[in-house]
């Protein structure tokens, strides 16, 4: 018998806002031009504050041009606009002219400001998304329709099954957790959704989840590298994504990006970003979050309190952690390679993706034909300080008393702007999000078997460090089933305990007869990879064909202190 998930309620959620024109993201894109202007202007002001003297500003500009030209020389992408070399050449020329032929003071300063403004405007334009209701609807239908067809064709093995509606995407992708609260909060305030990130598919998956929950489209911060893949680029654009270019680390770019996110949140656009920054290379649940974009939520909330006139209810921002739980990650072997080579020796990590449209289709096909489910856990809503909120959106303290979030920004009875304070708040929020991730992440049977097998091998070779262990030939690694089974049971027990303490969660399929759970785990752990990370040989022993990838899947359960139960 196969261990199956508890049957999904397969509930359809009504949209919380009927018409697309009511959606904040639509409002943003309708006034796209004004919004870009707004972003550019604010970013300009912010950068001027951060680089108050002219010398500092010129240094910053020169550094920016230099870096941009280096980037264009070394690492150009298909999505890069064709006119960019011309643009930067002109900026450089203007800067050189400035230093070579000093104008009078006022004029020089004006010229410097003009250059900065030009750069910031360009960046704002690059970042800005382009949400179009028509293509949103189209993309949505496409995903719905074809996914359903594929599912039925592959699952129900009968002629004509392709036209059946027995299975929908909801059967493939389970959404669990605080769905009702999320829908409530989205009506009352602005949602900032922060999912874990392990695969390039996450962006599309989460886009679908948002739609399936009846929520209006969110604005996304999506890596620009994704736009290299045409299919994904199409979906991303239509789903309201804005572009995050991780090659650009210069101050004007980063500030413009943060301003874009912050202003959009301030204007009430539900937003989504992956706070881990990039896909988790090691396979771990995110431990360290990037604070840059997260800080824009804090800042936006402060601005809302600052700007809301008396007597009006300030709009609240709700941070919602989400974990995406997979049996497999398409890119796992490459990700773990990256991770190991970085950890092994400090070398530069190039961000090139080996996946194009063809691989994606291959993957989708496998995804639908093999019985591997994905689950999405929606966490409880938090305010920007990481306090839980109730159904009404009130922040609660540990004793369940209501807190006024505005009070966090008060000094001496006044709302004050204190950058250092808010940085600290953001850091505190990020720690809360990480704790929530661990709490809501659903442990799958595949995570369990991967974790136990790898840890048992590590224990068999106590003298070897990680790299030594990974260098062992795979043929030498084999585990006796009875021992493996016992250990799995022990670790599973501890996961149950952690769940009781509210520190972890697991899928329904983890319960039941341990042999079946192990079987389920072995069948599913990274089952799409050419070399299976874990399987049972003819003698009934547990073996691996790819220890590195096994390490990747094992890492999902690192951070729960389960090692001592091996």
């Amino acid at each position: 018998m196969e261990v199956i998930e508890k049957k999904n309620k397969n509930k359809r959620y009504k949209p919380i806002l009927d018409k697309i024109p009511d959606w904040p993201v639509y409002q943003l894109s309708k006034n796209r031009k004004e919004f870009i202007e707004d972003v550019a202007e604010h970013a300009f002001k912010r950068i001027k504050e951060m680089r108050p003297t002219r010398k500092q500003l010129v240094d910053e500009l020169e550094a920016t041009v230099y870096r941009e030209q280096q980037r264009m020389k070394r690492n150009r992408w298909r999505v890069d606009p064709p006119d960019e070399s011309k643009f930067w050449a002109k900026v450089k020329e203007d800067l050189i002219e400035l230093t070579a032929r000093p104008l009078d003071d006022n004029a020089t300063e004006r010229k410097e400001d003009e250059i900065l403004k030009r750069i910031v405007q360009r960046y704002a334009g690059e970042i800005a998304g382009n949400f179009k209701p028509s293509s949103y609807r189209f993309a949505r239908e496409i995903i719905q329709f074809w996914f359903a067809r594929l599912l039925n064709a592959t699952r129900v093995k009968k002629f004509g099954a392709i036209f059946r509606n027995q299975y929908t995407l909801r059967d493939k992708i389970q959404i669990v957790g605080k769905v009702k609260q999320l829908r409530n909060l989205a009506k009352k305030g602005t949602i900032v959704m922060v999912p874990t990130h392990s695969s390039n598919l996450d962006s599309i998956l989460i886009g679908w989840v948002i739609h399936a929950l009846g929520l209006p489209a969110f604005i996304y911060g999506a890596g620009l590298n994704l736009f290299n893949i045409k299919i994904i680029a199409y979906f991303m654009n239509s789903l309201g994504a804005y572009k995050v270019d991780r090659r650009k680390k210069n101050l004007p770019y980063l500030e413009t990006l943060k301003m874009y996110s912050g202003l959009a949140i301030e204007k009430g656009a539900h937003s989504l970003f992956f706070p881990g920054g990039t896909r988790s290379r090691s396979g771990n649940i995110e431990k360290m979050l990037k604070l840059g974009l997260l800080s824009t939520a804090t800042e936006a909330q402060r601005n809302i309190y600052l700007k809301t006139p008396e007597g009006q209810e300030p709009r609240k921002i709700f941070v919602v952690p989400v974990t995406l739980n997979y049996h497999f990650v398409l890119e796992a072997p490459e990700l773990i390679d990256d991770y190991l080579s970085i950890k092994g020796q400090d070398r530069y990590l190039p961000e090139d993706d080996k996946y194009g449209s063809v691989q994606l289709i291959q993957f989708l096909f496998k995804f639908f034909t093999k019985g591997s489910n994905i689950s999405v856990s929606i966490g409880r809503g938090l305010d920007i300080m990481g306090n839980y909120v109730d159904e009404e959106g009130n922040s609660l303290d540990a004793q369940g008393r209501i807190i006024d979030t505005r009070d966090y920004f008060l000094s001496n009875g006044q709302i004050t702007i204190d950058k250092q304070r808010e940085d600290e708040y953001t850091r505190m929020l990020s720690q809360r999000i990480v704790a929530e991730y661990h709490k809501i992440h659903r442990t799958f049977a595949s995570h369990l078997v991967a974790f136990v097998a790898f840890e048992m091998w590590q224990k068999q070779h106590p003298k070897l460090d990680l790299f030594g262990l990974l260098r062992l030939p795979e043929e030498e690694l084999s585990l006796d089933y009875p021992e493996f089974r016992k250990t799995c049971k022990r670790v599973r027990k501890q996961i149950y305990n952690l769940k009781k303490e509210g520190k972890a969660n697991h899928a329904t399929h983890l319960k039941g007869k341990i042999d079946l759970v192990i079987k389920h785990g072995l069948e599913n752990v990274g089952n799409f990879h050419l070399k299976r990370p874990l399987l049972m040989d003819k003698k009934g022993n547990i073996i691996t064909k790819d220890l590195n990838t096994l390490y990747f899947y094992h890492n999902r359960l690192v951070g729960y202190d389960l090692e001592k139960f091996i």
Binding site: D397, A398, Q399, T405, Y408, G413, Q420, R421, Y425
Partner: protein, 353 residues
């Protein structure tokens, strides 16, 4: 600052009327009106009539009060200075009246222990960070206050009251809290430094108590300055190892709150911790020592806790574990010292790259 403008500024609260609490209240009263929380009515009457408490004269800007709700309502900035053993209970009482705009700067040098049911500090064998908390962590756990700081450093109440030159450290991750502390405490005789390593600074203040007991013991044995020099320098190393295991950063232990406080306490024969060591070296049994003192020295508990933490985190802490034997396992000071002098550890410094 003149007294005329005092009434225009919001008052500041102090909780705890022990030696250090009243001293801090007096320091604050130079800049602001101060509400001093006193637990019982009688003491309040006494203060109102005599303007003194346990020999400390009280500044006229200090108002005694025994209503925590009122204190929290009047004061956005509060200095809780109560012994660590009562700290959590006090926070539980205060917590309902606190809001996120409050700023709490505590001055308690001790640790908070939460034990599993049925266990006591004597029976538990190992302690980890889930059970051992600093005072700022207690504040964070028990209340909604996030802007938390601590006061630490060589601040012997008597010398401060006599207006001798001294310095303190305000530690907080928030620069805002540090500058509030500086503004409220600084004077021509009192220097205030800022430090962002809150946990490290708190631990420095706690861990030095261990070394203070050892200093008393050396003194009681009649040993002189060489021995003390040895103890203090090795003490710093041990404090840093223990402190890092508990989540402090090295930096915090090298400043005024670390070495500064350590040297001061190891040279002050009147401190309770020093007295414990001294009496033990004079041949008193631990039980007699505890009974001879009206209040338990924080250091005794610190030794007990840190020995168990050291076991959990597998940190070498020879001074702490030897003192543990003296205090709780009937080893004499002389035997302990013999053991330490033979301890096979000869790397001087191993925590700075």
């Amino acid at each position: 600052m003149t007294s005329r403008s005092l009434s225009d500024l919001p008052p500041v609260g102090v909780i705890g009327s022990g030696n250090f609490g009243t001293t801090v209240a007096n320091l604050l009263a130079r800049h602001r009106n101060v509400f001093l929380y006193v637990r019982d009515e009688k003491t309040i009457d006494h203060i109102l009539q005599k303007r003194e408490i346990r020999g400390h004269k009280l500044n006229k800007h200090i108002t005694p009060i025994n209503d925590l709700a009122e204190l929290a309502r009047q004061c956005d900035i509060i200095f809780p200075i109560v012994p660590s053993a009562h700290f959590r209970a006090m926070m539980k009482k205060l917590s309902p009246y606190l809001h996120p705009y409050h700023v709490l700067i505590h001055g308690s040098k001790g640790l908070d222990i939460t034990l599993p049911k049925g266990q006591t500090l004597e029976t538990v064998t190992k302690l980890s960070r889930t059970q051992v908390k600093t005072m700022s962590e207690v504040i964070r756990e028990e209340s909604v206050v996030v802007r938390v700081g601590c006061l630490a450093g060589p601040n012997l109440s008597k010398e401060l009251s006599a207006r001798q030159p001294a310095a303190t450290v305000i530690a907080s991750p928030f620069n805002e809290v540090i500058s509030i502390g500086k503004r409220l405490l600084r004077s021509d005789r009192f220097q205030v430094y800022g430090n962002n390593e809150l946990i490290g600074v708190e631990l420095a203040g706690v861990l030095k108590n261990i070394i203070a007991i050892a200093a008393g013991a050396l003194n009681g044995m009649g040993y002189g300055e060489n021995a003390r020099g040895l103890l203090i320098s090795r003490g710093v190393v041990e404090i840093i190892h223990l402190g890092r295991a508990l989540g402090g950063k090295t930096k915090a232990f090298l400043g005024v709150a670390g070495i500064g406080d350590l040297v001061a306490t190891c040279n002050s024969p009147l401190s309770r911790n020093f007295q414990v060591g001294y009496k033990l070296a004079q041949g008193m049994k631990p039980q007699e020592v505890f009974e001879s003192m009206d209040e338990v020295a924080e250091g005794v508990n610190t030794v007990r806790i840190m020995k168990k933490c050291a076991d959990f985190y597998k940190v070498r802490a020879p001074i702490t574990s030897t003192l543990y034997k003296v205090l709780f396992e009937d080893v004499t000071v002389k035997e302990a010292l013999d053991y330490l002098m033979r301890y096979p550890l000869n790397i001087d410094i191993d925590f700075i790259d």
